[in-house]
Each structure stands twice: as C-alpha cells, then as structure tokens.
Amino acid sequence: MKIPLPARFRTPVLLMAGLTLLVALATAIGSEQLNFTLTEMLIRMIVVIGLYMFVGNSGIMSFGHIGFMGIGAYVTAWATLAPEWKQVMLQGLPAFLQEHTYPFPVAVLASGLVAAGVALILGAAIMRLNGLAASIATFAFLAIVYSVYSNWESVTGGTSSVIGIPTVVGPWTAVAFACLAVVAAYAFQVSRYGLMLRASRDDEVAAQSSSVDIVRVRLVAFVCSAFLVGMGGALYAHFLGVLTTDAFYLALSFVTLSMLVVGGIGSLTGAVAGTLAVTLIVEILRACERGFALGGAQISLPRGSQEIGLGLALALVLIFRPAGISRSREL
C-alpha cells in the first residue's frame, strides 16, 4: 500500500501545526487566564486522544478511562512529592517512593506505564466480552478505582487533597505531549494492529474469517490508550498541583466522552476538534455564568448552565451530525 509520503502524514502534521500555532498565539497574548484554560484543554486533549485510540478504533465505548487518568495522576504525585510530606501524609507508601523524589519525565513515564499495566490485567479479563458488556465492565472499573482511592488513606490521603505537586506543566509542555499523543494515535491507527482493529469494528465475522485475533488487537489498543491517558493524568497533576479523587470520576468522564462524541468518535481529527469545540462551549457558558454587564444591568446564567449547555450540544450533534463535527473523517 504505497501512499505518497505527504498524503500519508498529512493528518498528524496538520493537527500538530494547528495546535502549536494555537499555543504560540495564546502565549503571545500572554493572558494568564487564557494560558490556564489552554493548558487544561491540551491535557484533556491527550486524554481524549487516548480514549479515541481505543474507543474509535475498536467501536467499544469505555466509561473507565478516567480511572487510568486518576491512576496516572497519583503515581506522579507519589514520585514527585517532597519526602517530608509523604512521610507524614502518605505513610503507606513503600520506601522507594516515600524516601525519594524522581524527576518529572521519569514520573510521567511511570504514570503511563502503571496505567498500561493495570489496563493489561483488566483488559485481559474484559476484552473477550462482547461490546456492551465490556463497556459496562469499564464503568465498574472506574467505580472500583474511585472507591479504592477514596478510602486507601495511607497511600492516597483518602478524600482529603494531596497538595504540593510541582506545577511544572504550562502550555508548551502540554502541547508537546499533545503532539506526542497525536503521533502515537495516528501511528497506531495506520499500523497493522490499527487496521485489524478497525476491521473488527466494522465486521467481527469477516475479521475472524480473515484470521484477525480480535481479543488481542483490542487488548493492544486498550493498553496503549491507557498509557496515553495515564500520562495525561500525570500532566494534570503537575498542572494543578493538587489532587482529589473526585476530580477523576463522573464529571470528567462525561466531559471527555462528550468531547469525543462531539468531534466524531471515528477519527483522530474528531478527537482533537471535539476537545476544542467542547472547551469553547464550556468556556463561553462559564463566562455567562459569571455574568456580564449589559447597559447597567448585570446579566448572568444560573449555575449549572455549563452542564445543561454541554448536554444540549451533545444532543444537537447526535441529531444533526451523528458522526461528529469531523464526520469521523481525517483532515
């Protein structure tokens, strides 16, 4: 299959160029609020791309990926927090974590690897289930991660916040990782494994008779996608500096899934576009909730408009553009 080189790499190159340009523009404006929003969006984009890698190519919805994000976030917290703090607050940590701190790149990599390891064990069990059952199992996984992390006080601090994580992630670091995610997801989808997985999504019977080992290709995608999402969680921790288990549960699951659906589940372009579009909608609604002055009168939307607006956007896209704003096609 010889496609000329430029066409073959067009999608990832365009996406990366667009994101880099966006960050360059935003940092030129130099508003702190804008940088904050942009960084958060790019980190979510990494998570959404990770989610796409599995959901988009396999056709199996996952409600559990935010669990991998939480796992990644806590791994990097364990690795990078100051030993004095860990010895007081997280007494259950093993010595190699409690007594040392590790540099940011090592910690982020470890976050990805631990999330991938968990995905390997979980995936080995649930990838043989049919689509819907597997989706529900991923939701159960999210609930398990949430309850374990909320109650395992000696290691996670339970429901109290973990503070003091070095906040080293700004827009440029975030966009670098987002580009990495774009490259990884694209490389996967055009690889043999990606192609076999997409084939199994289109038609399981035909994939089997072409000798595709469906369980295995699904598992490979699940593990790779958990790696990206785990890294996204680590970046999120280094962006906020504070962790609570509540941050990695239903609200974020809903937002990231909406991003993927709005953009178009079936394409990488959709994952990127959906993150941009949903962030824009949410930011506008958030601004309206804060309110603005109009001819002396203060007008503001009631609290909760964000969620309602997002739900509406999701419904409208599903009605008028079921394959998402990208029509599930690539650039």
């Binding site: 997409r198 035909a206 994939a207 072409s210 079936g266």
Partner: protein, 240 residues
Amino acid sequence: MLQVENLHVSYGGIAAVRGLSLTVAAGEVVAIIGPNGAGKSTTLAAIAGGVSPREGTITYGGMGITGRRPEDIARMGVSLVPEGRHVFATLTVEENLAIGTYMLGHRSKTSADVAAVLERFPRLQERRHFPAGRLSGGEQQMLVIARAMLTQPKLMLVDEPSLGLAPLIIDQVYDILLDLRRRQGLSLLIVEQSTSRILKHADRIYVVRSGAVQLVDRAQALKDGEAIKRAYFGFEEVRA
C-alpha cells in the same frame, strides 16, 4: 481433504444440525443445497470454527479441527466467505485486501499480493481507494472473495454467493470461483439455495433438510431434478 462426521450443532437447545456428514476431496467443488433453516450455513460456520459442535468430528487435511478457534482454522488454509457480503465498510478496498494478507505474516509481500489480486478484479482496481461500504452489492461480493483469496486458502467455504445479486453478476462470481479452482487447485464448498446454477458448476451435491443430509450424488446424475425435488421438499410430487 475435509471430512465432517455426524455433526450436531444446537443453538440454545434448538438443534440446527443433526448428524450431518460430508466430505470434500482436494480440488473438488461440492455444493450444499436445501431450504431455509436446513442447517447449511450452520454447517459452514461449524467447519470454520464460528460455532462449536455439540457432537461430531471435523477433520481437515488429516487433523482434527473440531472446536478450534476461527482464526486458527483460517490460518490452516480454510477460508470462510460468510453470507451477506461482510466487507469492512469504513476501510478502503485496498485496506480490506491488506487485512487478508496479514495472517500470512510476510510483511513485505502485502502490497505485491494485493496488486496481483486487484489485477483480476478490474472493478475493484478502479475503486481501490473507495470505502468498501460504498461499493455495489456485486462489487462487495467480489471484494470478499478477493480478500479470502489473499489468505491463500486450500479450501474456501462460500455461503450463498448469489444472494441478492443480479444474474449477470452471479455468473461473474462463479467464473471467478471456478477459475480459482482451475488455476490453484482450490477446493470449494458452496452453500446455495438455487439449484439450477449450482448443478452446472459443482462436482457433487448434498441436499440438506432438517439438519441432515437427504441425498448426495454427483451433479451429473441429478440433472433431471426429480430426485432433488423429493429430497429438497421431503415429499413426492403427486400428479393428477
């Protein structure tokens, strides 16, 4: 090459195949015909590993393959062309074909193999960058056969290749299948509902009804059709 003995398959307590036996010799074209619900497709699915038999043995090339995984059986050289034109709708024609070559494992030959097969299907050649879902029914059937060819099977199981196709297209499909047999010594086990066409092309015919073989003979011997009618419908035609 293929022996099926005393095959029983049930779906949740309902028996679809009850004690069916058949053989296919190397290079032979064998057809299974019979009415709806006779167990024809189930038999093919059982051979390909898609469903597990409750009882009976399936031997291929001297090896027992009963209950093995479909992808393993495919790797041994048995290729199923399922009923209903199972293409990978969102993948391009070329990508559909590439999938066919993957199980062979020699990465470098993928594009050469695909190109060689495309040469025999001019319509697919023209549309090789199209998503398979946008092809016509006949083109999709060709694509599925082309994809099956790329797995380099020794035995191809073809389920109702003529279903829903125009007569002219059906002839083309059969031309390709028989050409494969002639050139590569491929064995074919074909399930059909319409008898007239298959009588022309097959070496031997099995008539199946109610999950068991009612009649088996050389296609030549069945030309007049009376014996088939009796076996197919299960009663004598009463003439006034």
